[in-house]
């Protein structure tokens, strides 16, 4: 009887024969006045209740993504035959404000296209642009793909999107680690770290954890004040300006006399 149950379990949950156990060096990143980027170390292991299957190599895909936000992409066109002016625009429903992929090998070799579609791993798939596609059906002049490519290009140049194939170190198909650089131009919010375990381009297990990135100290205080008590913030800005203008004048007239 017990043998049947074991067999049933093995057949029913083959994917769960291997599980990812992982942790981060920090789940909490504070953006302080002197914030100049940060670095997160992600490490873990593949836990198995059976020997390593020999039908393919164990691979790891790691993604870290920032809060999804809608974004407007605008294109400049030459107007009046003279000046370059923003003209066409496309609304991207949701694009991660930060997205980083690290893998053990080239992404296309370790993840099938179908799995990429399901898990939304590669950069273009992580961007949601259904609305833009509908808009482009109404207006044949707009080529949505160009706008999405531009978004990816600009964010890649700003170090906000990147893919590092081979950056995850995997030891004996069991222990893995990777380090993710967070640039200084981060948007605060809840970030998600996701680890996919793949074999033969199929996802076997998924692990997810969150990283809380938020402004701290005076940065947080000023930002909150500026948005929630805009009137006081404006008055405070004016007060500081008037006070320093007066101080400057007083100090220099003291030195003159």
């Amino acid at each position: 009887m017990l043998r049947y149950i074991a067999l049933f379990l093995a057949l029913a949950f083959p994917a769960h024969a291997e599980k990812i156990v992982a942790d981060l060096s920090q789940n909490n990143v504070g953006i302080s006045a002197t914030f100049d980027g940060s670095n997160i170390l992600i490490f873990g292991a593949v836990s198995r209740d059976a020997p390593i299957p020999d039908d393919g190599k164990t691979e790891i895909v790691l993604t870290v993504s920032g809060p999804d936000l809608p974004i407007t992409v605008r294109r400049k066109d030459k107007k009046l035959g003279l000046i370059w002016v923003n003209s066409q625009k496309v609304l991207i429903d949701e694009a991660p404000s930060f997205y980083s992929i690290s893998t053990t090998a080239p992404l296309t070799e370790i993840l099938s296209d179908a799995e990429d579609l399901t898990y939304r791993v590669s950069i273009p798939r992580a961007i949601e642009s259904i609305g833009a596609k509908i808009a482009s059906e109404h207006n044949a002049e707009i080529n949505t793909e160009e706008f999405t490519e531009a978004l990816i290009r600009i964010r890649t140049n700003n170090n906000l999107y990147n893919i590092q194939e081979g950056a995850v170190k995997l030891l004996s198909s069991t222990l893995f680690s990777a380090s993710i650089d967070l640039p200084s131009n981060l948007t605060a919010g809840e970030y998600t770290a996701r680890i996919l375990l793949t074999r033969n381009q199929q996802v076997i297990d998924q692990f997810e954890t969150t990283i809380d990135i938020h402004k701290v100290g005076i940065e947080r205080w000023l930002y909150t004040l500026a948005h929630e008590n805009a009137l006081y913030y404006g008055l405070m800005s004016l007060f500081i300006a008037i006070a320093s203008g007066w101080l400057a004048s007083a100090v220099f007239s003291y030195f003159k006399s």
Partner: protein, 304 residues
């Protein structure tokens, strides 16, 4: 030392900002201009979002013009009555300017508006100043006296006349009111005090005596930029106080150094230098509009 700006949400080098503030401060001390028209484009160049640059610069100008007006009040070179008329126009202008700014921001054209305004006004003022000071230099070499201004023009035929004792003028309130509106609009959309437009307008259009012009213009600028700061802070949340303080510190020190350099130089050569500088900034911004940008696409926050 990198410092993270809470509103602009980027990390910049604090010494770069202090240096920029100092450099513009030196120039503003040398030439007696506010320097907003130089600082705002410089902030664009180092990557501060234009909306934040414009709003923050307005706040910085409050400080520098307040510091300047105190000295003028001591010397009694502020025409308060004229200042109030200009101010009244200025507040209306600033209000209209902010509406225009927000409307174009929603269309994604605010960069174009700000840059075009810069190109047009810097171009006009720069070339006028260049020609005028070149003539002055040539004339002073030949030994001729500078011609006196016309004393009467169409402005003297307008209604609602008022006495401005400090300026020794009896003119209609309409021209200063319109100048005020115009400068207010500029202050709101360009993040400048507008001194570089108001000073020539006061001298050539209103025939105000040169000695009260700077003080009166500073007086008006304090209130218009303070109003602009409040409008930007409460409607757009784009005033970055950390950025403003860094620019302020550099600017105050630079202005004192600049004043001393300026005293050692000839007025005409100073004006030519200022004109060249204005034209260079104008040319750089103009080329950006004319030459095909290397990146045609830009990202705007939010959706609708």
């Amino acid at each position: 030392m990198q410092i993270y700006l809470p509103i602009a949400e980027i990390s910049v080098n604090a010494f770069l900002l202090l240096g920029l503030g100092g450099m513009v401060g030196i120039l503003s001390g040398m030439f007696g201009v506010g320097g907003g028209f130089l600082m705002t484009p410089l902030l664009f160049f180092i990557g501060i979002p234009p909306a934040v640059a414009v709003a923050t610069e307005a706040n910085q100008i409050v400080a520098s013009s307040f510091s300047g007006v105190l000295a003028h009040l001591k010397r009694k070179t502020v025409d308060l009555k004229m200042g109030l008329v200009l101010l009244f126009g200025g507040l209306i202008g600033a209000y209209l300017g902010i509406q225009l700014f927000n409307y174009l921001r929603s269309l994604g054209q605010v960069d174009l508006l700000v840059k075009l305004s810069y190109v047009v006004f810097l171009g006009i003022i720069g070339s006028m100043m260049f020609i005028e000071s070149l003539r002055a230099v040539l004339k002073s070499k030949k030994g001729h006296a500078v011609p006196t201004r016309k004393k009467h023009n169409w402005i003297h035929n307008l209604p609602f006349k008022m006495k401005f004792r400090t300026s020794g003028l009896y003119i209609s309130v309409i021209p200063p009111f319109i100048v005020g509106i115009f400068v207010g609009v500029l202050a709101a959309i360009m993040g400048v005090g507008g001194g570089f437009v108001m000073v020539p307008a006061m001298i050539y259009l209103l025939n105000m005596p040169t000695k009260v012009v700077i003080g009166t213009s500073l007086f008006q600028i304090i209130f218009v930029t303070a109003f602009t700061t409040m409008m930007h802070a409460t409607t757009n949340f784009t005033v970055d106080i950390v950025l403003a303080v860094l620019l302020l510190v550099g600017g105050v020190v630079g202005a004192q150094i600049g004043t001393r350099i300026g005293l050692k130089m000839k007025a005409e050569s100073l004006r030519i230098l200022l004109a060249i500088m204005v034209l260079v900034v104008c040319g750089k911004l103009g080329l950006d509009l004319l030459i095909q940008p290397s990146e045609l696409y830009s990202l705007g926050a939010g959706g609708h």
